[in-house]
Symmetry: C2
Subunit: 219 residues, 2 copies
DNA sequence: CTATATTTGTGCTAAATAACATAACTGTGT
DNA sequence: ACACAGTTATGTTATTTAGCACAAATATAG
């Protein structure tokens, strides 16, 4: 996906620089919460962020995982509604913010920037629709495998080429794949037994990625 | 939501008229299928259309219901991917089509049209994210109630003010609310017993809308 | 109108998943 | 090093939902 910076004119860049603020968030710190009024386009520079929705009985569903450099927080503003999901830093994160009023003005004057958002929103909408079917129709094994594949695709591996470059609690893994924490733990164990992954605390090594993708796809 | 026509210049309108074709679809006729390459912006003029995704074991999940005048088919083109969902006419429908290449050119020359799509995509993305939580976390009663509420909000009532203005098979109701057909039938029956609705074949009267919304909200 | 296919309704059983309880483990701050 | 809180692990039970079978009702095609 083409970034924002590339499509900006020198004058646009000036405006961005003048209105850009950088914020540091600690692990588990809330960036914004459901129902609040959106004001900024957030740009994750360093760290990891999760977007989630509070469900029934305090259970949360992780909607999207964000990595550098990705943008978030703008959808609700564009739709002219309060946030329907919250955002939390999963690890210490450096995040830039530009007022959406400024973004709107830039879009008004820059066709390519408008296209950037049309493209980005369309992409995310497709992913969201696909997620609906994945989460509702796959069984637990398939859902957890899919979550792990998502982590691979989103954050990749460490230098050894097989350790996931993100450490999540079992509870967050459960929240990502729509199951209870116990079931996430149990299913992870069966994957270990089947030699698909190796687990050391929150460190997860994918030792048979092909098999993992197969489980994700078929069951 | 503001329509497309209002934001077009006279020249734009000329272009649209010159490239607009009208198609008639029969009940259950496929408009386009998953994995095909998107080519048109479709505009539903008369009738009802469902967008759906094929899931595991041929089970389908209805992603979105479309009413006149709403647009569809453009997301995949904007995202530059094949369709991730198919579209079928639920009743005889009259649908306009404009080549997406033309739409793209119009967007290039018309800032307000770009805003229309940014707004529309953002709105739908929020709905989709909300649907994820509704479908995954609510129990059967809540999900079916929610589906009925969606039908009310989307298609409204007939002249009597309480009969749903859409007749769907039990199977489609199930596909909309992520459950098996038997469970849709059974749960509808309990709603009838609880005097929330009255059923006469595919004709559904909402006799206690407040209660229905309550069930939808709390389970 | 009749034959045939499809849809609806209902009961029963099986499978999947959540819920709960409890113990072991881990990390963190003091 | 210790205490405490939070996390992980595992067994057991309860609940929810799917799956299947079959009969009745309804729609559809010839």
């Amino acid at each position: 996906m083409v970034g924002i910076w590339n499509v900006l004119t020198p004058e646009d860049k000036r405006v961005v620089i003048d209105n850009f603020t950088i914020h540091n968030f600690k692990r588990n710190q809330i960036i914004y919460a459901e129902k609040e009024t959106p004001e900024y386009l957030w740009c994750l520079l360093k760290g990891k962020v999760k977007k989630f929705k509070e469900g029934i009985g305090g259970r949360q569903q992780i909607i999207r995982l964000i990595r550098p450099i990705q943008y978030f927080g703008h959808r609700a503003y564009f739709a002219n509604e309060p946030y329907v999901s919250g955002a939390i830093a999963m690890e210490p994160s450096e995040i830039g913010a530009i007022p959406m009023t400024v973004v709107s003005q830039l879009i008004d004057g820059n066709r390519q920037l408008a296209w950037f958002f049309i493209h980005e929103l369309s992409h995310n909408l497709g992913r969201s629709d696909t997620k609906i079917v994945n989460l509702t129709q796959k069984h637990i094994r398939g859902r957890l495998a899919e979550a792990l594949v998502l982590l691979v695709d989103n954050y990749g591996f460490e230098d050894d080429g097989e350790t996931l470059n993100i450490y999540m609690s079992r509870e967050d893994l459960a929240n990502l794949s729509n199951m209870t924490t116990s079931n996430a733990i149990r299913t992870l164990s069966t994957f270990v037994n089947e030699k698909v992954i190796v687990v050391d605390g929150r460190r997860i090594k994918i030792v048979n990625e092909a098999m993992l993708r197969k489980i994700s796809k078929f069951g």
